[in-house]
Symmetry: C2
Subunit: 405 residues, 2 copies
């Protein structure tokens, strides 16, 4: 008997008809004598509606009450799914995180699941029931409801799969899997059948919306294979798994291309160089929740001054400027900003063993006269900052260059 | 320091603006250094929307999942109220029934509150916080969410007031209090300043929508004074309390007039009389959840046959006919039905000590040529069944006859 965790996202349970459809998917697994555990998000739209209400109540709505409020969305969805499974003649029930219980740590709105208690659920599973568990939430040590951030239902499914030592963890969503790049930007995008955790982690971190990086990281750490597939079609999806030997038929060194729009670049020129100057600059930004992405520091030739460039999201530009100008721990000559930028990244574990990828990337971009502003590399990805107006063109040329078309 | 329980019904928290308004009411009590406990219903419309979804999922939606589903309404409302109180600078938080906990007994959808645990809430109250508790729900001994029937938030407030030995229990609603009769039927209806539990109990049971009879009963048993008032206006409302000496200025023997529309009358003629025949007739009706109201059995002159008349709701007529015809334990000559009837009741504890009330009621109705079909009396009320087309006229003549105008 296999233990299978099935997770359904908001659009998968976005209407009564959709809920009826997913119960059929659930029962397909149940009828094959599997031990099935369901995790669900809120019906799409419901969470946004609740958030809207909270904003109308207060511009600074209490974080704990926010969690109590939005967690009602998953509770309602799970009750409806369980109700439909019962209607179909199967034993099923909703499980709220406090009933399991699922224990989280960390602040409200961005907690992390620390433990999933097995006793109650195991008893229920042994009796033949299908538990339908609220994703995205847990309770903390004060017995209050917490949420684990938006899209956190994936993380719930992965942690439940971990604690139950599940054989499979299937994330049902509204896309058919992970693509070589965003199909809305490049029509030649193809579905990836199998991808390694590290590649998926880079894809997620670098803009692919299919899964949150933290969820991929959780899966990797706990060695949980994840299949991402669509609840709307009956196709095989993408398997996210550990290292595997690739069939390098088409010289597929690059697995996918991710991107973020809406980036901004800041350059602090003529910073007086001294030990710890970068920390002096970035510490107050971090404290103000400004996410610094790429960082480039020019070598200081005379050992006295240096230029520092880094990227942030466009909406943080004003706040960042204010913080830097008010920072008494640093002195500099000039501060400049550049917005409307995009970061484009090529990802693939094959990169480690294949020289010349950087060169091929730069050459391909140059062939289309696309100027590179900042470069950042890791073992399995190369990211470049370009003008966002050239994004589509850049994705197309790279998708072709690396045989992804 | 007084302990005050404030309960808000669905229309009182029916919009963001309304929620802002009720937080002002709450803070008015808090600022007077009271210990304030808030109980809230779901925002109006929310519960019906959830019920609609459950019906689309299944015509026979699981009762336990129904409770899990609809209980999200109060949870969201309480989080929003608490969020607004926090926004106004006051310490407040939502309390779900499982966090208190509030323990219920009995079946899903119609549980009753058995115990309200004080420890967690007392600690919170001592810290100066305002708890905002979900009405209408609790948890059972299986740790599952239960609901206590529609309008059950009143019962929640009363039981919380009981366990906390509260000094006041104020039920905020969308009407200004209890009226001598329904103002929509008779414009001369007046607000009652003070009413005894027993009178209120009859008023509720006999069709007054202000409070559920079970809640009034709970209040009576536990000796909790209730003030019913409007959250929309700042008027004093109606106090529901134990026996008090009435100022009989206007010969006010009758406190109020209630009515139900949509009644039906069934007559089973020529029933073979034998011991327990009434039980044989009513047992299968009760098992099918058909609520039998007034019952009249004619005296069997020959000791062999009897005629039995009783009233039910119109929508139950078909089901009732089927059950009676299929009932093998009884034999009768004829079955007849009469729909579109109304039951009108006059209520007042003064009745006990004042003779001639029945006569005055019948005479007043006769003066308007209103035919009485069935009569039923108790110590403090007289109910008669009439044609529903004559209801308005009947209410008017009785309201005048008993000096309520």
């Amino acid at each position: 008997m296999k233990t299978i965790v099935l997770k359904f996202g908001g659009t998968s349970v976005g209407s009564i008809e959709r809920i009826k459809k997913v119960t059929k998917i659930i029962l397909k697994y149940k009828k094959k004598k599997n031990r099935v555990i369901v995790v669900s998000s809120a019906m799409s739209g419901v969470t946004n509606e609740l958030i809207k209400k909270s904003k109308l109540i207060s511009g600074n709505f209490d974080k704990a009450e926010y969690d109590a409020l939005v967690s009602t969305g998953e509770q309602a969805a799970c009750a409806l799914i369980a109700g439909r499974l019962n209607h179909s003649g199967f034993k099923a029930r909703s499980w709220m995180s406090w009933q399991v219980p699922i224990i989280t740590k960390g602040p409200h709105n961005s907690s992390r699941i620390e433990k999933v208690f097995l006793r109650n659920l195991l008893k229920y599973l042994r009796s033949g029931g299908i538990p339908v568990i609220t994703g995205f939430q847990g309770i903390n040590n004060l017995n209050r409801i917490t949420t684990i951030g938006r899209s956190g239902s994936d993380a719930s499914a992965i942690m439940i799969a971990k604690f139950f030592k599940a054989d499979e963890c299937i994330i049902y969503t509204d896309v058919e899997g992970v693509y070589t790049t965003d199909p809305r930007i490049n029509k030649k995008a193809k579905k990836i059948k199998k991808i390694e955790y590290d590649e998926m982690l880079e894809m997620s971190s670098l803009g692919s919306k299919v899964m949150q990086p933290t969820s991929v990281q959780d899966a990797k750490i706990n060695d949980i294979e994840i299949r991402v597939k669509s609840s709307f079609t009956n196709k095989s999806g993408t398997l996210i798994t550990k290292k595997f030997k690739k069939k390098n038929i088409n010289n597929e060194i690059i697995t996918g291309i991710s991107f973020t729009k809406n980036d901004a670049k800041i350059t602090i020129a003529g910073v007086k160089d001294k030990p710890g100057v970068a920390a002096y600059i970035f510490e107050p930004l971090s404290k103000n929740f400004i996410n610094v992405d790429m960082v480039v520091q020019n070598i200081s030739l005379d050992g006295k001054e240096t230029d520092l460039t880094f990227t942030i999201r466009s909406e943080d530009v004003k706040k960042t400027e204010k913080i830097i100008r008010e920072n008494k721990n640093i002195s500099f000559r000039k501060l400049s900003f550049d917005t409307n930028l995009a970061k484009i990244s090529i990802i693939g574990v094959g990169m480690i063993t294949t020289p010349g990828i950087t060169y091929r990337m730069f050459k391909a971009l140059a062939s289309k006269k696309i100027n590179i502003m900042v470069i950042s590399t890791s073992e399995i990805k190369i990211s470049v900052l370009i003008s966002s107006s050239l994004l589509k063109k850049a994705v197309a040329v790279l998708h072709n260059e690396f045989n992804l078309d």
